[in-house]
């Protein structure tokens, strides 16, 4: 039984890694077509980096991810604090509203934001579909994830710590800055990392809210894949997979050190 379980597990892992390995291998393959390995080369990487557009798409992707992560982390953390601390009317409604961006298919999210931007632009001539609208859209789904992650952390918090600070005469802001925030920091960092990777990964919502001149890497990959497979895309994918693995390894080491 144990044996079967382990054979199964390694087959699944093989399935998970087979396509990634193929792409990585082909990105170093001399021949442009086919899967015959005809020799080792860095040509596709050199060609990739000599494409100035790629740098522009990368910059766009990073601008969107950084700005949206900063805003959504601040708003989401505050929202989580407020939701845990206060009872108010419409609280249940707000809690359910939080789940909407998490559970609704991203195509629905994308077109509903497109409709909003279009309506507002018709009325006041602004905003054009651009990096700005992509950022607004990303924040809208990131907030939900950040809030839920931070809220989970807040619920584990010992309320007497905050009360002690208050009894010692700390103002609410001081209590938040010196007691609450450091205690929930791991949650805030996890929330921000999740928000960041969701933004980097997002294709669908970006697809509907992007305009001319605001191409991101996922949009670029999509449009080139529609034209056909190319070794430059193998190389780009390999780099992105490499960065993913690096970030995850660093993250794991970071958390281990803290623990």
């Amino acid at each position: 039984m144990k044996r079967l379980l382990s054979i199964h597990a390694w087959l699944v892992f093989a399935f998970l890694y087979l396509p990634i390995v193929v792409i990585v291998a082909l990105s170093f393959n001399k021949s442009r077509f086919g899967v015959q390995f005809t020799g080792f080369t860095f040509d596709w990487y050199i060609r990739l980096f000599s494409n100035e557009r790629i740098l522009e798409y990368l910059t766009n992707t990073l601008i969107v991810a950084v700005v949206s992560t900063v805003v959504s982390t601040i708003l989401g953390t505050l929202l989580a604090v407020g939701l845990v601390r206060y009872q108010f009317r419409l609280q249940t409604a707000l809690r359910y509203l939080l789940y909407v961006p998490v559970v609704v298919p991203d195509v629905v999210m994308g077109i509903s934001l497109l409709l909003l931007f279009d309506l507002v632009r018709d009325a006041i001539g602004w905003p054009r579909l651009s990096l700005f609208t992509i950022i607004l859209a990303h924040i809208s789904f990131q907030i939900a994830y950040v809030t839920l992650v931070v809220r989970a952390r807040l619920m584990l918090l010992d309320p007497t710590l905050e009360e002690a600070a208050k009894d010692l005469g700390a103002t609410p802001w001081l209590t938040f800055r010196e007691v609450t925030l450091p205690l929930i920091m791991p949650g805030v960092v996890s929330g921000a990392l999740l928000a960041f990777s969701l933004s980097l990964d997002d294709f669908v919502v970006t697809f509907f809210t992007a305009g001319p001149g605001s191409t991101t890497l996922p949009l670029y990959i999509y449009s080139s894949v529609k034209l056909g497979v190319s070794p430059e895309i193998h190389a780009l994918s390999t780099l992105m997979v490499g960065i993913t693995i690096l970030v995850l390894l660093l993250g794991t080491l970071f958390w281990r050190k803290r623990a």
């Binding site: 998970l16 708003l75 206060y86 809690r95 907030i143 994918s237």
Partner: protein, 287 residues
């Protein structure tokens, strides 16, 4: 505990914390959904724009045309079977990881594809399935003629299973980690055979994780358009593709909004059923 100075002070703090986020969610989640609802009741103008008259005509068209009903059926069908395959692959895997001495490494092996860009994961299967791809390379190596594997339903299934498998394994693993194994021993002590003991003592403990994993996989699998678009080559139309088409080349935003509302209604119905069995805690665990 010292009370917040005054009710006003309390209100001010509440607005400061909840205000911005709630405002954002209202403006960019709630209002767009309402706009979509209104748009779904409008008509298509000569340039594809949204114009009156208002009515249920888009929904009537959607549900009276067998083509669209078939699209819904196909989306649910492919979503369902992909989810079943994912469960068959992922359920034993979660147990293997939970019992392994190298849990952390194995989890990382699941998390890496999870965090790898979605488009790259789909793209990788084009490389495997295309005419000069890996699979055809193997087939021809054995002396068979190359097969047309792309576009195909098979490719859509494989890529869907591949894409969403980690979404299932992670919540299920969390459930397996919390299993109370002493119940299994109790079942053995009472004379149960291994299969029966597992079924009675362990399986029920994983049911909440199964439910959560099912929804986490099924909802995006039904709603995606990218996989069918890239691997189905426009031959396999799912509801996501229909929506994208209406907002793209077909230029019928009113009808696209109606299709979106249908998709959203299906998702909410599923979640409602789930919440009835699991409660809000269950919803919360989804994330």
């Amino acid at each position: 505990m010292r009370e917040a100075a005054t009710p006003w002070e309390r209100l001010r703090q509440m607005l400061l914390t909840i205000g911005p986020g709630a405002f954002w969610l209202g403006l960019f989640v709630l209002i767009p959904t309402l706009i979509m609802l209104v748009a779904s009741l409008m008509s298509r103008g000569s340039l594809g724009q949204l114009v009156p008259p208002f009515g249920l005509h888009n929904y009537l068209r959607f549900f009276s045309d067998p083509l669209f009903v078939e699209i819904i059926g196909r989306s649910l069908w492919i979503g369902f079977w992909s989810t079943v395959f994912i469960m068959l692959l992922g359920y034993p895997l979660a147990f293997y990881i939970a019992q392994s001495r190298h849990k952390e490494v194995l989890l990382l092996l699941v998390v890496i594809p999870f965090f790898t860009n979605f488009l790259i994961r789909v793209y990788a299967w084009i490389v495997v399935f295309q005419k000069e791809g890996l699979l055809n390379g193997l087939i021809t190596a054995f002396g068979f003629p190359p097969a047309e594997l792309l576009p195909s339903t098979l490719a859509v299934y494989v890529a869907t299973v591949y894409t969403y498998l980690p979404f299932f394994v992670l919540p299920l693993y969390a459930a397996v980690e919390r299993i109370d194994w002493s119940q299994l021993e109790a079942a053995y002590d009472l004379g149960a055979r291994p299969i029966r003991a597992f079924w009675e003592a362990i399986f029920p403990q994983t049911v909440p994780g199964l439910f959560a994993g099912f929804l986490l996989v099924f909802i995006p699998a039904v709603g995606t358009f990218v996989i069918a678009d890239l691997l189905g080559g426009g031959k396999i139309t799912l509801i996501g593709n229909l929506i994208q088409l209406q907002f793209g080349s077909a230029q019928n935003w009113a009808f696209g909004s109606a299709a979106s509302m249908v998709l959203m209604a299906m998702v909410l119905l599923g979640l409602w059923l789930y919440a009835r069995t699991q409660g809000e805690r269950g919803l919360y665990k989804l994330v």
